[in-house]
Amino acid sequence: MKHKRSLLALPYVGWMALFVVAPIVMVVVYAFTTAGFEPTASNFTGMGTYVSIFARSFQLALIATVICLLIGYPISYVMAKEGPGFQRVATVLIMLPMWVNFLLRTYSWMAILENNGLLNQLFDAIGLFDLINGLFGTDLTYFRMIRTQGAVVLGMVYNYLPFMILPIYSVILKLDRSLLEAAQDLGANSAYVFRRVIFPLSLPGVLSGVTMVFVPSVSTFAISRLLGGGTHMMLGDLIEQQFLGGAYNPHLGSAIALVMMLIVIVCMWVMNRFGQGEEQAVVL
């Protein structure tokens, strides 16, 4: 019986080996070799030059994650509390943008945020610039929104928000109603029930939401390229340049990718530890 089951698993083991393990091994091999495939550590020793890019990537990804959490948690909570009709509509609305191609969505934001884009045209049309110029004696004709770090963060939040909402929503939805009743029964008002029961029990959803927003945010390159205008280079851009761009050096690219992966893994590990501790710490 057991033998049969392991046979069934074979295709998946093969798949994983081919498409997960092998690429990682290749990245590791590239990272520790020169262009002539001589073993070297120089790809890592020279990485100090990119510290600012690392810092910016993690900083922007962290900001985007926090914003996603602040927006996403209340939405998830309200959705889970509402009736099934509202839930269906809300779920579709949240998923809908994800059915549109990622690049297309990001290009649309470009059109919206451009100096002569939709948003600035709207501000102009309602006389916002005239008002401000009249008040402060300035000479504004548009707000600079594109090619800023803010635009990059906006792009991340917009693209990854569903990944924050859905896990939290499904965890809150599955909470045993009788737990909330038990807390009320013991004397807790709704704020207390939320603080001591709903929130701690929704932490697993928060953790997976944070992971699913933070990881793609930290490695994104399309968003920073299109909305950041290449002026705020992030890790994704840096790695992409090593593979496709003018600075062609897959060995350095692999090393950067590897370091990034390690940092992300450490972050996640620390957070999971923290999260587990939190569940108990909340009450002590």
Partner: protein, 396 residues
């Protein structure tokens, strides 16, 4: 002892015209062990949830200590609940589950400059600790404080749920089928334990169950419900010996329920034969339902009995034999220690106090025939644990 604590006055509960509780009138005394007993969907859990504050009756009033509490939310009622599936907080250990209610700051009215002001009061760590440990001792869970609740057995989880509900020192503890998920033996132990806790703490227990044995064994008062109506209220002895109608007679214990006619005070006619009984106060020749408990029938020689019948089936039950006897096409269940093989002719003798006469009701003719004996027994065996799904469905 018998000070009235809770009163349900003409309580009606309906969902979209579907009546779940039909004019319930009920009072519960201080320190009473009262059981709401009935099949699933009879309205017993709904009644409990109204007392707990999770539901508000469509019509009627709920009084606690003489004060109307219809609109008082659960967290402001001096009532705590032990939930059907315990509802322990999975993120908290045993100690913290029990301490939950104590850690909540309570509003307390204090005199300040001659004016009444409300302020939040928290218990000290030491007091919380003392009370939690005291409660864990009551439910025999000392030494389990740091355990995760998911690592406990069903019986232990049950005890945590009881301790958690009692730690707030409620005046009334509501228990919603608390033993339903436990196995037979554990259930028996916990019955005794609950009874002990109730006596020791000196508080009122309102207990919901579909298990009639449990109800008889534990309660001071049993309230039998069906179809949203109270069928009978009484002591366990009353309910068993003097059931009000065929439903109660059938639901509580085993009974043979027969059509009869009351010929005079103390004389009832069954199968055209007159039996002496103790019941009085019926109209002359009033058609009635007659209950004869299987253990109240004596088997005698075929010639000397009041009735004569043929044994059709015998099942050994340990203490007694379940004997099915055919009397003129109507099958009775008789529980006897005398073995009578299938096919044998027997006579029976029933003492006057073994016969109980009831007025006809909507339930007449529905129960009490053992023609389909074996199937019925299987059904009873299967019905071991039926959560009140129908009632739960209305919560949303």
């Amino acid at each position: 002892m018998s000070k009235e604590l809770i009163r349900l006055s003409d309580c009606v509960m309906s969902y979209d015209g579907d009546v779940v509780l039909d004019h319930i009138n009920l009072y519960i005394n201080d320190r009473e062990f009262l059981t709401l007993l009935g099949p699933s969907g009879c309205g017993k859990t709904t009644t409990l949830r109204i007392i707990g504050g999770f539901l508000s009756p469509t019509a009627g009033d709920v009084f606690f200590d003489g004060v109307r509490i219809n609109d008082v939310p659960p967290h402001k009622r001096a009532v705590n609940t032990v939930f059907q599936k315990y509802a322990l907080f999975p993120h908290l250990n045993v100690y913290e589950n029990v301490a939950f209610g104590l850690r909540i700051p309570r509003a307390e009215t204090v005199e300040r400059d001659g004016k009444a002001a409300s302020r939040k009061v928290k218990l000290s760590k030491q007091e919380i600790h003392n009370r939690v440990m005291e409660m864990l001792e009551v439910v025999n869970l000392k030494g389990f404080e740091r355990r995760s609740v998911s690592a406990l057995s069903g019986g232990q989880q049950q005890r945590v749920a009881i301790a958690r509900a009692l730690v707030n020192r409620p005046k009334v503890l509501l228990l919603d089928e608390p033993l339903g998920a436990l196995d037979m033996r554990l259930r028996k132990d916990m019955q005794g334990e609950l009874k002990r806790i109730q006596r020791e703490m000196g508080i009122t227990f309102i207990y919901v169950t579909h298990d009639q044995e449990e109800a008889l064994a534990m309660s001071d008062t049993v309230v039998v419900m069906d179809q949203g109506k109270i069928q009978q209220i009484g002591t366990p002895e009353d309910i068993y010996n003097e059931p009000k109608n065929a439903f109660v007679a059938d639901f509580i214990g085993e009974s043979n329920i027969l059509d009869g006619v009351m010929r005079a005070d103390g004389v009832v006619e069954i199968f055209n034969r007159r039996f002496p009984c103790l019941d009085k106060g019926f109209a002359p020749d009033e058609p009635v339902d007659v209950v004869i408990r299987p253990e109240d029938v004596d088997i005698v020689d075929p010639g000397s009995g009041q009735l004569r019948g043929t044994v059709t089936a015998v099942t050994f039950k340990g203490v007694h034999y379940d004997t099915i006897v055919d009397f003129y096409g109507f099958k009775w269940l008789i529980q006897t220690t005398d073995f009578c093989p299938a096919g044998s002719d027997i006579g029976i003798q029933i003492d006057p106090d073994g016969i109980h006469v009831m007025r006809k009701s909507q339930y007449s003719g529905l129960f009490g025939d053992y023609s389909s004996y074996s199937e019925e027994y299987e059904e009873i065996g299967d019905a071991d644990y039926v959560p009140d799904g129908e009632e739960d469905g209305h919560e949303a």
